[in-house]
């Protein structure tokens, strides 16, 4: 077998040397009843590389790949062009096949990269510090609520109706078992629920959670929410699912967010059918010891040279066990690397230009689609994603578009199957990958399907 270096004669020699009769001797502690005598039944036997590759090629062909079709999906996962050098670099064996950098003398590559990543994320979010990544945006969101609970010693969080419904679900799963209270609401085409949030923050509130831009693509100023939260001793948690937006709009930190979490997939990582992604987690300095996850810090070595280590580990499970700030261990290191490389390639100029380009394309698309009879753009404000209200239910329409080889957005019916008022909503994302032709094709198809 190609992955197993031991030859049969190696095995025999080694068994003899350690005084075992056969390999079964080494499994002597397994109770008789649980010992299997042959390979597990009902599973195939080994396969050649070629056979495996062909199997997957056949499966891959059953999927419509984003780059082969006009593509307008967003809602928490965005398709951007990722430079080829990113994927080349993350495949360097020294990055790909390294473990968590617990031995810093031979892990400076990963550590320095994490330090750079943390700085990039903190600056982008307008925060003092950021950690070395979480699983994804949705789990980071719950971790932020949980952290706010530890800080405020309160257990009620007020969630914006504009928070991604899957993020809400993840929080609900956890809150149900931790006896936390979540104040939730569903989105409304009429506008964001800033006022509801402000009204509902009270002395019991640990945090108010606002997505920016929100699930329908709207951009709202969070300053007033932050002010009210701080007045009541609560924290403002901002959630960013499209970090590219921050090349064009104010950072949440500027508006007073105490914790900012986000999904970093959009930069460097790609769609990947939902994972692995990379959770971004930043906060203001005073909360650093309540942060979940790994942190990389600068220090010096025995010769006084600058170097990096994982630090403040007394927050973490491997040191603090049941008293840790989170149970997270393995995080999303390689995706953080991809994010960081892509962000270094962009730089401030590139990120801002990319944001401007995305916005410009989205505005063009919104104008064009708004002209289609039976289509109304819901948003007053948006970055690269906006919501259409259609004259028909959106969910079947999305399938019809797919039949025409157009991946035409995310229907709100998929996200909110139980909210009648949203069934005609279609969330459309437009990034730099969308061409004029794509927009025309989409508009034409919509026109036909809606008439």
């Amino acid at each position: 077998m190609r992955y197993l270096p031991l030859t049969q004669s190696d095995r025999d020699t080694m068994l003899t040397q350690i005084g075992a009769q056969s390999i079964d001797d080494l499994f002597a502690d397994v109770p008789e009843a649980a010992r299997l005598t042959g390979p597990i039944r009902g599973l195939p036997s080994h396969a050649t590389e070629m056979a495996v590759e062909r199997h997957f090629s056949a499966l891959a062909r059953q999927n419509m790949a984003a780059s082969h079709h006009p593509f307008f999906l967003g809602c928490g996962a965005y398709k951007h062009h990722v430079p080829a050098s990113v994927d080349h670099l993350i495949q360097r064996g020294e990055f790909l096949t390294a473990y968590t950098p617990y031995q810093p003398e031979i892990a400076q590559g990963t550590l320095q990269m994490l330090f750079e990543f943390q700085t990039q994320v903190a600056r982008l979010f307008g925060c003092d510090v950021a950690n070395a990544s979480m699983y994804d945006g949705s789990t980071a969101c719950w971790e932020a609520i949980s952290m706010a609970g530890r800080i405020t010693k309160r257990s009620k969080a007020v969630l914006s109706s504009g928070l991604h419904p899957h993020y809400v679900s993840v929080c609900e799963t956890m809150a149900h078992f931790t006896n936390d209270m979540l104040d939730v609401a569903k989105p409304d085409f009429a506008g964001a629920d800033t006022q509801r949030l402000i009204d509902n923050i009270d002395e019991e509130t640990s945090a108010v959670v606002v997505q920016y831009p929100d699930i329908l693509g709207r951009i709202e100023d969070m300053s007033a929410i932050a002010a009210k939260a701080h007045e009541k001793g609560a924290l403002l948690i901002a959630v960013v699912t499209e970090p590219v937006a921050l090349g064009a709009i104010k950072s949440p930190g500027e508006m007073g967010a105490d914790i900012v979490v986000g999904e970093g997939q959009s930069i460097g990582v790609g769609l990947q059918f939902g994972g692995p992604y990379v959770g971004l987690f930043a906060c203001q300095k005073k909360f650093v010891r309540q942060m979940p996850g790994r942190l990389c810090g600068e220090t010096v070595d025995a010769e006084g040279k600058r170097g990096f280590v994982l630090t403040l580990s007394t927050r973490e499970q491997h040191i603090r066990r049941e008293k840790a700030t989170s149970n997270i261990c393995t995080n999303s290191g390689l995706c953080a690397l991809a994010f960081s490389i892509h962000m270094s390639l962009l730089g401030e100029r590139g990120l801002c230009d990319l944001a401007t380009l995305n916005h410009a394309r989205a505005v063009q698309a919104a104008q064009r689609l708004n002209k289609v009879p039976g289509v109304r753009v819901v948003n007053d404000t948006f970055f690269n994603e906006f919501t259409l209200e259609l004259s028909k239910e959106a969910r079947p329409l999305v399938r019809e578009l797919a039949d025409r080889r157009i991946l035409g957005g995310v229907s709100l019916g998929r996200l909110y199957p139980d909210v009648n008022a949203l069934q005609n909503g279609l969330v459309v994302a437009v990034t730099e990958i969308v061409t004029d032709e794509d927009i025309e094709t989409f508009a034409d198809a919509l026109e036909e399907l809606l008439s």
């Binding site: 059953q62 899957h166 220090t299 997270i328 390689l334 401030e348």
Partner: protein, 523 residues
């Protein structure tokens, strides 16, 4: 005659800037230092060219950014060099044996990398209509079938993002099952030797934890455990094979006792590599077990992640598994059970563990791995992993103390303590000495039940020659630690950095590069 440089300009760097070892740059031939992106890049440089943008009236609603962010950019050549040079300061499986106990640092096949990058998997959006992602759903479903059959369990929750997340999912399912029975048990029993994520997870899910006593031979003390069982015990969390490298002989009896007391058995499956294809946890009465695809199933660790932690579930717990999940119909069509249909099809679900479908990129790799090995090959994996560990154990136990060396064969890892080292020498010195020898050290100071623990896991992807070389190096270092070799106290000598001051890092945390320094560096 050239007109150039009539003024005779010269750079201001003739002065000697050589370090102790005599170089101007601080480099040592191929061991290259590398500055931070904040020192190299500047905010106007970019390594990405973009199309011109059409002029439009913005719809940003007055929220335009008006401050600079402070993100340095690099041209592509600078970026490629920066990250390539950084990478060279890392150790990795691709460089040599990586014997981190409990981490299963096995070879990561490159076929899997290729497959994960096929556009049909890598370039698909999680919210595409299910008709357009049948192949992607197929991968998830096929892998689910493999995991269920390999473990002999009833169901599997695929979405957890890593081992600890899988633990959380399993514990929540247990909590949900108890809730469904109308019970509110408060305590989870966890052995002291357990990985930190076990108690952390229990706490994260709102439980209090208590210790499970161990026998002197390194296993769960069945009688003591039984004595503690009762109506307040929600579950036990047991690692099997355990972190001392031993198989829990009484696992089935433990499960029976826990079940009899109305509790559930959570098994930490991080060490599944020792038994995959040879023992099915389902046969031992386990109710939930996470599988680290980034351990047993060869997906790369990536310097800390991403991983993937599917949890296999017993019949009792399966109804509580999270959404979304895949269901295959007779005609081969696959559907996704999520919010809309969960009410009918899966009413007891705990809900979502994560936004989307979990770690697709790891599923492709893991499925490619299990298909490559097949059921026969996976059995061989376990056997070779265990053989390699036992060979190491027996090759080292005369120079390193093996506290459980007499407790039976070890499984896929061998545990040593620091007993017998010279005064003032510790496990840390052995670890740092191994670095100079060209190895990543073993796991150190874990499990906590052994003093100065060294947990050595070679995995099955090491050849006998590689093991022998490692054994030689470790013996040499161990003998030096016993003899009190001074040079060992200051190891490593040859790594990119000498020992790092972790206390300083924690005392005065510098977690980000200061904003002001960018401006300066960029000048």
């Amino acid at each position: 005659m050239s007109d150039l440089n009539k003024g005779g300009w010269r750079p201001e760097m003739t002065e000697e800037r050589r370090d102790e070892q005599g170089t101007f740059t601080g480099n040592r031939a191929l061991m290259l230092d590398e500055a931070l992106i904040f020192e190299i890049g500047d905010s106007e440089t970019t390594g990405v060219d973009l199309a011109d943008f059409p002029q439009v009236e913005t719809r940003l609603g007055g929220m335009e950014r008006d401050r600079r962010i402070g993100l340095p950019g690099l041209s592509e050549p600078e970026a490629v060099r920066h990250y390539t040079r950084l990478s060279r300061q890392n150790y990795a499986i691709d460089l040599g044996l990586f014997p981190l106990g409990s981490c299963t640092m096995k070879h990561n096949p490159r076929l899997n990398e290729k497959i994960a990058r096929m556009k049909g998997f890598a370039d698909v959006h999680p919210l595409q209509p299910v008709e357009t992602v049948q192949g992607a759903l197929g991968v998830i479903n096929e892998l689910a079938v493999w995991l269920i059959k390999l473990t002999g369990m009833h169901g599997v929750a695929m979405t957890p993002k890593a081992g600890a997340h899988g633990e959380l999912c399993g514990i929540l399912c247990i909590k949900a099952a108890l809730e469904a029975r109308g019970e509110d048990r408060k305590v989870i029993l966890v052995p002291e030797s357990a990985h930190g994520t076990n108690p952390a997870t229990a706490a994260f899910a709102g439980y209090v934890t208590e210790n499970i006593p161990a026998t002197p031979d390194g296993r769960v003390d069945l009688e003591a455990l039984k004595a503690r069982l009762g109506p307040d015990i929600a579950a036990v969390m047991i690692t099997n094979p355990n972190t001392c490298g031993l198989f829990e002989r009484d696992m089935k009896a433990i499960s029976d006792a826990v079940h009899a007391a109305g509790g559930y058995v959570y098994c930490d499956g991080a060490n599944f590599n020792a038994i995959v294809g040879r023992v099915r946890p389902g046969d031992l009465g386990v109710d939930a077990m996470h599988i680290n695809l980034h351990k047993t199933f060869s997906t790369p660790h990536g310097g800390g992640g991403p991983g993937s932690g599917p949890v296999v579930l017993s019949e009792a717990l399966s109804p509580f598994g999270p959404i979304p999940y895949t269901e295959r119909f007779g005609d081969g069509h696959i559907t996704l059970v999520e919010e809309e249909t969960a009410g009918d099809r899966h009413p007891h679900s705990i809900g979502r563990m994560t936004a989307f479908h979990g770690q697709m990129g790891m599923y492709t790799r893991a499925l490619a791995y299990v298909m490559s090995h097949g059921a026969d090959g996976l059995k061989q994996v376990a056997e070779d992993a265990v053989l390699n560990a036992n060979y190491l154990l027996r090759s080292l136990e005369d120079v390193l103390d093996a506290p459980f060396g007499k407790s039976g064969p070890c499984m896929h890892e061998a545990l040593f303590s620091d007993m017998g080292m010279a005064e003032g020498y510790s496990t840390l010195d052995i670890a740092k000495g191994l670095i100079d020898e060209g190895y990543h050290p073993m796991t150190v100071y874990f499990p906590l039940v052994v003093h100065g623990a060294m947990l050595v896991e070679p995995t099955e992807t090491e050849s006998k020659a590689a093991l022998d070389e490692f054994i030689g190096a470790l013996r040499s270092v161990a003998i030096r630690a016993k003899a009190g070799d001074e040079a060992l106290k200051s190891a490593p000598h040859f790594a990119p950095r000498r020992r790092l001051d972790e206390t300083l890092a924690a005392r005065k945390p510098k977690l980000v590069w200061p904003q002001t320094e960018l401006a300066e560096a960029a000048e």
